[in-house]
Structures are given as structure tokens and as C-alpha cells.
Amino acid sequence: MTLKTILGAATALGLALAAPAFAQDQTKVGFIYVGPIGDHGWSYTHDQGRLAVEAEFGDAVETTYVETVAEGPDAERVMTQMALGGADIIFATSFGYGPEMNNVAERFPDIKFEHATGYIQEQPNVALYNARFYEGRAVIGHIAGKMNESNKVGYIASFPIPEVIMGINAAYLAAKAVNPDVEFSIIWAYSWYDPAQEAAAAEALIEQGADIIMQHTDSTAPLTVAQDAGVMGFGQASDMSGFAPEAHLTGIVDVWAPYYIERVQAVMDGTWEPVNVWHGIDEGMVGFAPFNDKIPAELVAEAEGMIAAIADGSYHPFTGPINRQDGTPWLAEGEVADDGTLLGMDFYVEGITSEIPN
């Protein structure tokens, strides 16, 4: 055997081992997640969407994902590697991936990019999608206002961005509508997923007298703390009732599967467009976990009525009169907030006593 044949064999072996990430005739779909898929919150529900895409299209698609990708250069590298790996469409599922996604999209104009909860759309191959979680926040805010006995609601917030501020406002307005004495205590975790810190925040809030815990972070830790302390809370992103069956009143459930299936289908059909959608209860992107038996039947009926009214458009959670925190008027009697103001919301509504970190 000559050196040449040995080298040739070695190269062939190398090429065989370096099989591409995806086979050629399939539509290749990549996902990047900011947390672990085991968070049972945000990233978990996106991964459920990915699995639904696989179930829907079977062998016609191949999906892959990378979890726990930090926003910033790491995200840019992972997206680029997915693009090099042959992806046809990439879903990036965290708010902070925006600048990097647009950078990568510029370099790979033939690949479709979808950014969840983002706002930067500088390339013709970047689409934005988001869910009207404030609709869900209003419903659980209503339940919180009614179930609340200490008049104190504890709220674990992640980052002070419009999405989170909007959620706090929606929940507060709905709670205050049924309990004028309700107070919100807000703790900022500066993280989307940090079970230890979320648990510490829940403990602090309960110590301050909160008997209902709301969270805009992704772990199940606040609920288990609530259960141990004998208070109640709401799940986040997925049905978390299994982790705290006593404490879990209900929760907003993120339903991404229909959107993901629709968009992958569009890529297959060649009809993909760089949309910018904001779907709510009506379109089925915002759902609810089962209501706990502790919630009285009439309250369940109220909540279901609210859900139906939001779905058919007869009720908007941000309907005036609403003042800003400093007392200046925001919405006049009967006026409904426009999407632009909501998506850039950087103020609390009147009645919330704390301040947005600045």
C-alpha cells in the first residue's frame, strides 16, 4: 500500500464522517433557545413547537436546536453555524438575538430568519413574530385580584423591557379593577431563567406579605416556593401544575406549534414572506393551563368570559381611562391602546408604587 492510497483512504473516511447536518432533500429547520429545553417555561414551549413541526411533516423536515445560547456573539456564531450546516429557516427565540440575527441574515440572504419578540427587521429575510401575552396577563391579573387576601401580589420580573412592563401593567389593571386595594411588589431578576434567584425572589415577596406570586421568568422555582409557603401563583409559558398542584392557579401557555408549522410550510411552498405578526388568544398563540379547583366556579366563569371577550375583540385589556404612573392621562374614556405604544411601553400605569429600574 502506497502512502497515496493510505492518504486517500483517510480522506474518504474523513469525508464519510463529516456527513452534513442535514440530508439534501429535506427542509432543514434550526432553533436557538436562550434557556435549557428542560426549563418547562419559555424554551421548553418553543421546543414543543419544534417537535410539533417534526410530527407534522415527518421525514420531509429535519430539525435541530442549540439550547442555552447567550445573547450576543455566541448567538451570532450558533446561527452562522446553523446556516453553514444547511438550514433553510432558523427560529431565534429570545428578545436579545435581534442585532445578531440581522447580521447573519445579511450574510445568508437565501435563508429565512424568524425572530420571536424582536423589533429589528433590517433584512428582507427576517420575520418577526410575537404573542399578545398581555391578554393572558389581564386574565390572570383578574384571578389574582379576586383570590388575593393580603392585598399584596408579588411579581417576579425579568428585564425592564416593554414586553415585561406591558405584562405588569396589564395584570395590575385587571387586578385593581376587582380589588382597588391591591398592591404589586415587583422584584427584577435580570435573568430569564435562574431557578435559585427566582426562588429567592419568591421567598422575599412572600415574606413581604404577598399571597399570590406572578412571574415573568421561566423556571418552576417560584411556584414550588409558593406551594411550600402555602400561597398561590401562576405558571409561566407551559402548564406547570405538575410541579405545584396546590399552588398553581392557572398559567399563560405559549402555543407556538401552529405558527411554526405554517412558516415551515411556507418555506416548502416558496411563499415565505418577512411578516411581522402579533398573535393573541384569538389566533391561539396565547392559551391557558387548566384552572385549579380552588378557583370558585363563578370566578372561572368570569375568566372564561374575559377570554372569550378578548378573543372576539369586544374587550381590550388596555381600555381607557388609564393614567400613567405620574398621573398624566394616557388613554381617554373608551380609548384603546395602539400596538405601537404597547410594544414600546416604558412607563407604569397609575397606582403601581415602585419605579422601573433606570
Partner: protein, 361 residues
Amino acid sequence: MIQLEKRLAPSKRAQYLNPFLAVALTMVAGGLMFAVLGKDPLAAIRLIFFDPIFSEQFGSYSRPQLLIKSAPLILIAVGLAIGFRAGIWNIGAEGQYIIGALCGAGVALAFYPMEGWFIFPLMVVAGALGGFLWAMIPAILKTRFNTNEILVSLLLVYVAEKLLAGMALGLLRNPDVAGFPGSRDLRRYESAHNADLIANTGMHWGVVAAMIAVILAYVMMTRHSLGYQVRLAGQAPRAARFAGVSPTRLVVVCFGIAGVLAGLAGMFEVSGPSGQVRIDFASGYGFTAIIVAFLGRLNPIGIVLAGLLLGLTYIGGELSQMMLQLPGAAIQVFQGMLLFFLLALDFQTNYRLKLTKGARA
């Protein structure tokens, strides 16, 4: 019963062999873990260590990325290693890295949108100065009030993180995008952009700075009297005192060097690969650099190899997640094994187990 006995003359050769042995052991144990997870262990290890450099599909992109990921690790680790050699424990490089980034970005944003050749050099000075001053807090507290530098430097990381969040939400926030945290993108501000010196090579100023730092540190440790003082203080503190080495001066110098280098690393990162001051800008480089320093035997040349190796496991780890759907946590365990095996081997080099008869007081 079993006793531990310090070896009188630990093998020099083992000291240099241990990192390689640790890598080999990590591959074996990691491979076993991957197999238990139902993944092909050979393919996984190949993806982690081989494909980022040699794969046709990914190599041309991930080779430059290796430089980008490793440069800050090397830059920080070189500075830390000097202190570690002297027995001065700066655990807060992450904080010095953050403050360096904030100062560098602060200078850039103060000048925005003016263009000028002097802006980038000013940012470099500001980044170095920021890291230096932040490192001086634990150093001065130690020399003046004899506080524990490990605790103070570590706790200052959390202070720096709060400052970072405050800056991303307040003073340095991009005023053009209402309501969203994070500064302007420095990659879109030409005078402040730490771009690739040659396009698509990953060679930015931070890589150059890391190389210079490695050479200077090597010369200092082997040729300069300061390097001698550092080594003496680490090996024989009492002898160092008699030889006229001032412990106070050494603490200040070691913290100062580490702070400058960490601050520079942060500044080059924020003006280049990261581009933005954002709440979660800090990605743990300052802590990972501690692993790099020890894996590299506190030796500048060793640190280059260790930094590249750790960078490789990050990039290869992502590749193996993407291609094999390995869980992200498995990659972190894999990286942890590396340090674990190294420490175990070092322990075995420095101590031996001794069986003695009967119990002794």
C-alpha cells in the same frame, strides 16, 4: 488507616504531562457519558475537538471564531497567572472585564457620532484604566486594611454586574430605540469599531493584545527582576521578605497588571464581537480564565494552548449540540471534567496515599 503524605520532590515532568493526561481522561470519561446519553461518543469528540478546525463545512468560519473566543480568555488568564504565581488571588477578573468594557464604551458613546482616529486609542486607554482602578479596590483594601483579596475581588464582580445593568438601562442606553435596554451598536460606529484587521480572520485588536501580553509576560517572568520577585514570593514568602521584596508593592503590581489586561479584554469585546453594552454582556470570561490559567500551568505559553483548548470546547460544544443534539448541560459537564481531572492529577503528583497501621492521634 489511609493518610496523605506530601511528596518531597513532586515530579517536574508530571506537572507538564498532567494537562495532556487530563484532556485524554476527559475524552474517555466524556465519551462514556455521551454513550450513556445514547450518542455516538467518537462522533461527539470529533465534533468538539476536530471539526471546528478541520471540517470543510464549518472550519473556515469557526477557525476565526476560535481566536475571537480564546483571545479574551488568554488576555485575562495571562494577567491572573502572574498574581497566582505570587500567591495573590484575584478572583474578580470578571468585574474588571466589565468595568473595562463600560469605560471603553463610555468613551466611544461620549464622542458619538464624531469620527476620528484618536477615538479608538482613547477607548483602549479608558478600558485599561477602568480595569486597573477596579482592581485597585481589593489591592488597596488588602495592603491598607489587610482584607481578604479573594472575597473583596469576587464580591466586586456582583457590584460591577449591577453597574453594567444600570448603564445598559440608563446612561449608556441607545436613545434612538425607546424602551429597550442596551447601548448603540459600536460595530456600526466606524471610529469605535474593533473590526477584524484582515476581514474574516477573527484577528481583531484583542487578539493582537493577547499575543503581545503573552510575550511580555513570558519575558517578565523569565528575564526581569519583577518576575523573579513574583516567583520568590510565591514559593518562599519569608525568603522574599528577606530579599527585600515588598509584599505591598507586589499586591498592587499583580492586581494592577491583571486589572489592566482584564479591562482591555472587556473593551476589545464590547467594541468588537459583542458590539453593545447590554445587561448580560458579561459571559463568564473572567471566571473561565481562572481555569485557563491553571490548565496552562500559570505559564504564558501554556495559557495560549489552554485558552485555545477551552475556546475549542465552547465552539465544538455548540457544533455537537447542533449536529448530535447533545444536551447543553452535557457540554458543561464535559468542560468541568477537564478541570476535575487536572486537579486530581495534580493532587496525585503532589501527594501520595499512605497506609498506616492502627489509628494515630
